[in-house]
């Protein structure tokens, strides 16, 4: 069999679109990267709704000062579960879904390197979240000590500790297996003529993210395992009375936790770096510097963790070190923002929905970055810490950052997945509705924090009433906008204008050389691909 060097990813000598028949064979036992990608995305969507419902309860209670709707302990369960579900159930699986769908097609690989492990990585997740969510119905309720699980507080819950720990173990195993698969795929399965510096930025950012995952998920697993033994087997790893140290848990947790926030944002950088060149109709500015900046951010993310602990107490030298190290992250992040803007400079831009969400990402993520640098200043963080200022910070980077990038990616790639164009008018309505409401939701929280309103408290004094009311109104509107998003996605999957293989006029990359919807199997022959079709196919 000969390899046609300009083949379009789908061999035409026989039919490659034979999907397995029947629900069990097609979905439960699937080893196909596209089907597994779909499963991840659906799961993430479901968790987004569940976590979102909890956020609505939180904003409902905070609509007015005083206690109106829920018990304080239940409120704490909501803040804890909301964060755990959004971080581990929505944002991370959504990016793994995008990785599964796109990475093999972007590098000319027929599938992920380890397809059966891929099936496991996904199907562990529903069990993990069933375990975690079941605690809501237990005596004593769900974990309520915060997603950071600090001892001794977290150990004072009921038996939910055991469920929490096992759920975290399962999520950890799932994402480690997913990360191993991503790295093994990128390192070994690229089409023979695709080099590392030909890879799209989404592939690069995921490669680096996967290394972060492999380094820090086991550390989290270790930390929660010791929580478990402290709770049930009389160890005192984190118990001062027994010679342990609760502050050590915080160090271990944040050694995981800070890289974790970059695990949630690096793939978002990748998505946006795909979309902006397409709609600016220009190649990405500074491709190689983007790769280096991503690597630099990943490296720095390991050496800044204690900026979450300025108020816990550290030697002065350590406070200074973590302060300056944290501020350095702004440098490679600035490189990225500069490159996105430079890509648009003098481009012939159009503003389809994926581009709108990407532009909002660039602006609003940067606002979150700025408040991050403010909190990096140790002396002032003593005031900001544990207030709504930090809640505003991480929702700008996570909602208008990570979640906006996921939404942008869904609009960008859904024609490739489903074979249908989404409705552009509805997409734009969704964009403006989300973008306005999300700012009404989170911007006032900066002021609340600066004025001293603490996070994770169901009640507040009356001077905070007005901003909280606005924040809640924005929250309900944003929640509704995402129900609308589900409707748009549903409508697109069910029908709509037929998408071409190319989909977007300015798009470049191997994924656009296959038909839409992408056939069940693509790039099956492991042959060389046409480098001219790749955005960075020429050597740099």
């Amino acid at each position: 069999m000969s390899h046609d060097i300009t083949h379009d990813g789908v061999a035409d000598h026989h039919d490659h679109d034979h999907k397995p028949k029947g629900f069990v064979k097609r979905w439960l036992m699937t080893t196909n990267h596209k089907d597994i990608g779909t499963l991840y995305l659906i799961f993430a969507f479901a968790m987004f709704i569940l976590g979102g419902a909890m956020a609505m309860i939180i904003r409902l209670e905070l609509f007015q000062p005083g206690l109106q709707f829920v018990e304080p302990d239940f409120f704490n369960q909501m803040t804890t579960m909301h964060a755990l579900i959004m971080v581990f159930g929505a944002v991370m699986p959504a990016f793994v879904g995008l990785a599964n769908w796109m990475i093999p097609m972007m590098i000319g690989a027929p599938d992920m390197a380890l397809p059966r492990m891929n099936n496991w990585s996904f199907w562990i997740l529903p069990f993990a979240f069933a375990l975690l969510s079941s605690t809501l119905f237990m005596e004593g309720g769900a974990p309520a000590g915060g997603w950071t699980m600090y001892p001794p507080l977290v150990l004072q819950g009921g038996h939910n500790v055991a469920y929490l720990v096992f759920a975290v173990h399962l999520m950890g195993i799932s994402s480690i297996m997913g990360a191993i698969n991503v790295i093994a795929t990128i390192m070994n399965m690229r089409a023979p003529n695709v080099g590392y510096l030909n890879m799209p930025l989404f592939v690069w950012t995921w490669l680096i993210t996967a290394f972060l995952l492999i380094a820090v998920m086991p550390v989290l697993a270790g930390a929660v395992t010791m929580l478990l033994t402290d709770r049930y087997f009389d160890t005192s790893f984190f118990n001062a009375a027994g010679g342990g140290d609760p502050v050590l848990f915080q160090h271990i947790f944040w050694f995981f936790g800070h890289p974790e926030v970059y695990i949630m944002i690096l793939p978002a950088f990748g998505v946006v770096s795909e979309i902006i060149p397409t709609f600016a109709r220009k190649p990405l500015f500074g491709y190689v510097s983007m790769v280096y900046a991503t690597a630099a951010i990943a490296f720095l993310s390991f050496i800044v963790w204690a900026h979450h602990m300025f108020s816990v107490g550290m030697p002065l030298g350590a406070e200074l070190y973590f302060m300056y190290a944290t501020m350095m992250i702004a440098v490679p992040t600035g490189v990225k923002i500069f490159n996105w803007v430079a890509t648009m400079w003098k481009g012939s831009m159009t503003f389809e929905t994926p581009m709108l969400f990407s532009l909002a990402f660039v602006i609003l993520f940067t606002i979150g970055g700025f408040s991050g640098v403010m909190m990096a200043l140790a002396p002032v963080d003593l005031q900001y810490h544990d207030t709504y200022f930090i809640v505003a910070h991480f929702h700008y980077v996570l909602v208008t950052g990570a979640v906006f990038a996921i939404i942008a990616g869904v609009y960008y790639w859904i024609p490739k997945w489903s074979g249908h164009m989404y409705n552009e008018r509805l997409g734009k309505i969704h964009f403006w509705w989300s973008t306005i409401s999300v700012n009404v939701l989170f911007f006032p929280q900066h002021f609340l924090g600066l004025a001293g309103m603490p996070r994770r408290i169901p009640d507040y004094s009356t001077q905070f009433a007005e901003f909280n009311m606005w924040s809640s109104i924005g929250g309900f509107a944003f929640g509704l906008a995402q129900v609308f998003f589900i409707y748009i996605v549903w409508k697109t999957v069910r029908g709509g204008e037929k998408a071409t293989g190319q989909v977007w006029e300015g798009a470049k990359g191997l994924e656009w050389t296959v038909p839409s919807p992408a056939p069940h199997h693509t790039f099956e022959d492991f042959g060389p691909v046409d480098l001219d079709k790749m955005a960075h196919g020429k050597t740099h």
Partner: protein, 42 residues
């Protein structure tokens, strides 16, 4: 076995090796975290 099948097998074999190395690294990080705490606690 033709060229193509051979390359497929080689690529999958290399991928499995990568996966095993990465899994060992992951276990290493787990042990390291536990080691740090145990050392500190005693």
């Amino acid at each position: 076995m033709n060229q193509e099948e051979k390359r497929i097998q080689e690529q999958r074999k290399a991928a499995r090796k990568t996966a095993v190395i990465l899994a060992v690294i992951a276990v290493g990080f787990f042990s390291w975290a536990v080691y740090i705490v145990v050392k500190h606690a005693t």
